[in-house]
């Protein structure tokens, strides 16, 4: 078994009071805590640094608003890869493996964990490159399965419920004016026509008063 690795994040960089679910336990991250150590499930600390840098280019922190680093997208991806999704637990993985037409989708044998390991090799010393060099490198990888997964997972980590590890402090939902899950819009659905109606975003845990059941925590 490999040594337990951690992602160390300066709390202030992530916008103050944030909620994470660490190993199933609610964990309140305070800006004044200085640095926090988040246990990694799949990546090494060095790999997490590389993925963080790549996600930041895909969904940058810029004039439009916060990006992948502030949302904790790398933590989201780490947990997805360590869970049933990363291991293809629910994908049909019997052979024979044959290439087919595009209409049949991904027919490869490699699971998301394996695709990321190869992608990380291809990214090399990505975190140490200049922004310009990073953009150039990603542009050259655009057509790879790894890049397509990384882009998809970055969007997922920005806008999924924070119980999955991303969308920290609901900053993804605030960015786009999405209120999160709510119990009822019965009195609102046919009002506000042509006007923005923007209830304060709330997470599933905040709405239900109890933790959710993220699939990535499934055992076995």
């Amino acid at each position: 078994m490999r040594r337990r690795e951690f992602l160390t994040i300066p709390a202030a960089a992530m916008g103050g009071t944030l909620l994470y679910t660490l190993a199933g336990e609610p964990f309140r991250l305070q800006a004044q805590d200085g640095k926090v150590k988040i246990p990694l499930r799949f990546f090494s600390a060095e790999e997490a640094r590389t993925i963080t840098a790549a996600c930041e280019r895909i969904f940058p922190s810029d004039a439009t608003g916060p990006g992948a680093t502030e949302a904790g997208v790398v933590i989201f991806i780490d947990r997805q890869l360590a869970g049933p999704y990363g291991r293809d637990k629910y994908r049909y993985t019997k052979g024979p493996w044959v290439d087919s037409v595009p209409e049949h989708g991904y027919q490869g044998k490699e699971n998301p964990q394996e695709i990321y390991r190869q992608g990380l090799k291809d990214l090399g010393n990505f975190a140490n490159l200049s922004v310009e060099e990073q953009n150039k490198k990603l542009a050259a990888m655009e057509r790879t399965r790894f890049f397509q997964l990384l882009r998809t997972h970055t969007i997922e980590g920005m806008f999924s419920d924070p119980m999955h590890g991303g969308n920290a402090g609901l900053i993804g939902w605030q960015l786009i004016g999405y209120p999160g899950p709510q119990m009822s819009y019965r009195e609102e659905v046919d009002k506000h026509f042509g006007q923005p109606y923007r209830p304060t975003p709330r997470s599933l845990e905040q709405i239900m008063g109890r933790p959710g059941d993220p699939w990535e925590n499934e055992k076995g």
Binding site: R57, I58, P60, D62, A63, T64, G67, Y85, D88, Y90, Y92, T93, K94, P96, V98, S100, V101, E103, H104, G105, Y106, Q107, N135, L138, R151, T154, I155, E156, F159, S160, D161, H164, G172, W173, L175, I176, G177, Y178, P179, P181, Q182, M183, S184, Y185, R186, E188, V189, D190, H192, F193, Q195, P196, Y197, L204, I207, M208, R210, D213, P214, W215
Partner: protein, 584 residues
């Protein structure tokens, strides 16, 4: 293999049709009924904490586990099939309630001409104009036969809507093209959203007849004839691909299970994967199943009801060697024949104002049937036989899935700052006008057992041989023109372009409306089951569900599946149990 104590009726599949069959049999007989469901138990209380787009809408947590069993697909007889390795174009459910838990709730009746489609097309165009590959056929029942059973199904679920044809009288605000109804809908239509109201106003100005989709999402509290009370929809926007946390959307677990739970002659076995129907001398003797621990059982039964999803209805009959597999080369055999899906095409539209699209319901939609069937055709449509319904729906927000939807050319890249700015700008400003079209049956589209790939037990997977034909490409082309005209009338931006002529794909979601394979008919020459869904070759075997549809109609299949189940239950209870032989 452990032999169990015999039951009178063994039902395979604990979804809408299997549980409805169980409810009907246990209501009026003392027969012992056992339902075998391969998935897990489900109940309404499970659903509140599942309002999570990632796990449910994207990772598809409620669907069948493709690692255990999937299907294979090929486009033509010349090709080799490959497995559908993860769900894409349709979403078979699992667990108690089946796909009836995660459905959207659309509950249409089929137009009367759908039930006599071969006769209708022949009368209209002449037999010579119909392609020899077209294998559409008449149903063995008419709209009038089904009307009282449609009404029973609508009452069961409390369907919300407004009649457009009440005993022949056309009513504004309903669908004037529907067959005559004897009763108004049990509950009024759902509310409008901003986007659906704009669509309704525009199509009305164009002279069409907008109506709100009849939906199993209740518009108000309703008590059904079984005494089950459910509340009105909360428009929470977590409907299709989710279970309803308040029971406003009719699902087997909130509509049938509360009744069945009180019946002493009913039992439900979850985690029970039925692998064969066992038979001898032309009669089913019972079923063989494997439980969640891998133990094998034989359940003797006097009557067997096969009520799983369309896919497994054909597959289990083929694995059990019941009936004659269809051969597309000779046209002989009936099992697996007339596989149909549904034909769709969307026009993506963009508004200047925000839509608050997160508020919605599975079937909150405004719709026209002015082009359903062959309504509105002038005769100059170049071989176009049938089309479908055109609608704009607001069924909830998908912040992940819809992020990045923007007008063509709004960003050069699909990542980075420019893309992010454009994606954020167009958030909540987009909807789609879409067609749900009739998929005709063709000689070359069918199901059989795959020669190569197997499930977790080593049993052959089901193989689809399925592709679009020139007719479906024409349908999309024609629908896109109408949709563009509606978008212009609405005064919105929209993406224009030639319709795709891509082959059938298993990646992008289309609809979970797969029909055929065990089709019903007037004779064993062109069907597997009779009008009571009784197998022609095996009188104590009934096969229920959309597998019985000779071909798809444009509307979604659930209401018609339930109505056929009522017909099968009537045949079984009132005729077959008294004289257990062939009913026809």
């Amino acid at each position: 293999m452990t032999n169990l104590k015999p039951v009178d009726v063994a039902i395979i599949g604990g979804g809408w049709t299997g549980l409805l069959m169980a409810k009907e049999i246990t209501a009026s007989t003392s027969k012992s009924v056992a339902v075998f469901e391969r998935g897990i138990p489900r109940k309404m209380e499970d659903y509140a904490v599942t309002m999570d787009e990632l796990d449910h809408n994207i990772r598809l947590r409620m669907m069948q586990n493709t690692a255990e069993e999937t299907i294979t697909h090929r486009h033509s007889l010349k090709d080799s099939a490959v497995p559908v390795r993860q769900h894409g174009s349709f979403h078979p459910g699992t667990g108690v309630g089946g796909a009836g838990e995660h459905w959207g709730g659309a509950s249409f009746r089929f137009q009367p001409d759908c039930f006599r489609l071969r006769s209708h097309l022949t009368e209209k165009h002449g037999a010579a104009k119909l392609s020899p590959d077209l294998t559409v056929q008449d149903w063995p029942i008419s709209y009038d036969d089904l009307e009282p059973l449609y009404w029973k199904s609508e009452q069961l679920m409390g369907i919300s809507g407004k009649a457009g044809n009440l005993r022949g009288e056309k009513i504004d605000g309903g669908n004037p093209f529907e067959g005559p109804r004897q009763h108004e809908y049990p509950t009024p239509p759902l509310k409008h959203s901003y986007a659906s109201s704009l669509f309704a106003e525009a199509v009305r100005r164009m002279g069409y007849h907008p109506y709100r989709t009849p939906a199993a999402n209740l518009s108000e509290s309703y008590k059904n004839p079984d005494g089950i009370t459910r509340p009105g929809c909360a428009y929470c926007g977590h409907c299709q691909r989710y279970g309803c946390m308040i029971g406003a959307k009719a699902q087997p677990t909130n509509t049938l299970m509360p009744v069945l739970a009180k019946r002493k002659n009913f039992e439900l076995h979850t985690g029970s994967w039925v692998r064969r129907i066992i038979h001898k001398d032309g009669r089913a003797t019972g079923i063989q199943f494997t439980n969640a621990s891998g133990e094998e059982f034989f359940q003797p039964a006097g009557t067997v009801v096969l009520a799983s999803f369309t896919l497994n209805n054909t597959r289990l009959l083929a694995l059990s060697k019941i009936g004659t597999p269809y051969d597309p080369a000779t046209g002989k055999g009936t099992l697996g024949r007339n596989l149909t899906h549904q034909v769709g095409v969307n026009t993506r539209i963009f508004f200047d104002k925000p839509l608050n699209i997160f508020m919605g319901a599975g079937e909150l939609a405004s719709r026209i049937s002015d082009f359903d069937g062959d309504n509105g055709f002038t005769g100059g449509e170049d071989g176009l036989l049938r089309l479908g319904m055109i609608a704009l729906g607001t069924n909830g927000d998908t912040p992940i899935g819809s992020f990045g939807i923007m007008p063509k050319g709004a960003s050069k890249s699909n990542w980075g700052s420019e893309w992010k700015a454009a994606a954020v700008k167009w958030r909540d400003h987009s909807a789609a006008i879409g067609m749900s079209g009739e998929h005709l049956a063709y000689r070359q589209n069918y199901m059989d057992l795959d020669p190569t790939y197997t499930d977790k037990f080593g049993d052959s997977l089901l193989r689809f041989t399925l592709n679009w034909t020139e007719h479906e490409y024409k349908m999309r082309e024609f629908a896109l023109k109408i949709q563009a005209n509606i978008a212009r009338e609405m005064g919105v931006k929209f993406d224009e372009g030639p319709p795709s002529r891509a082959p059938y794909n298993v990646i992008n979601y289309q609809s979970t409306h797969i029909q055929g394979g065990v089709v019903m008919g007037a004779s064993p020459e062109n069907s597997v089951v009779n009008k009571y869904l009784q197998h022609w070759d095996m009188p104590n075997l009934f096969v229920v569900g959309a597998s019985a549809f000779p071909q798809n109609a444009a509307p979604n299949p659930t209401l018609t599946s339930l109505s056929l189940t009522y017909m099968a239950a009537d045949g079984m209870i009132n005729r077959y149990f008294k004289h257990p032989e062939k009913l026809i």
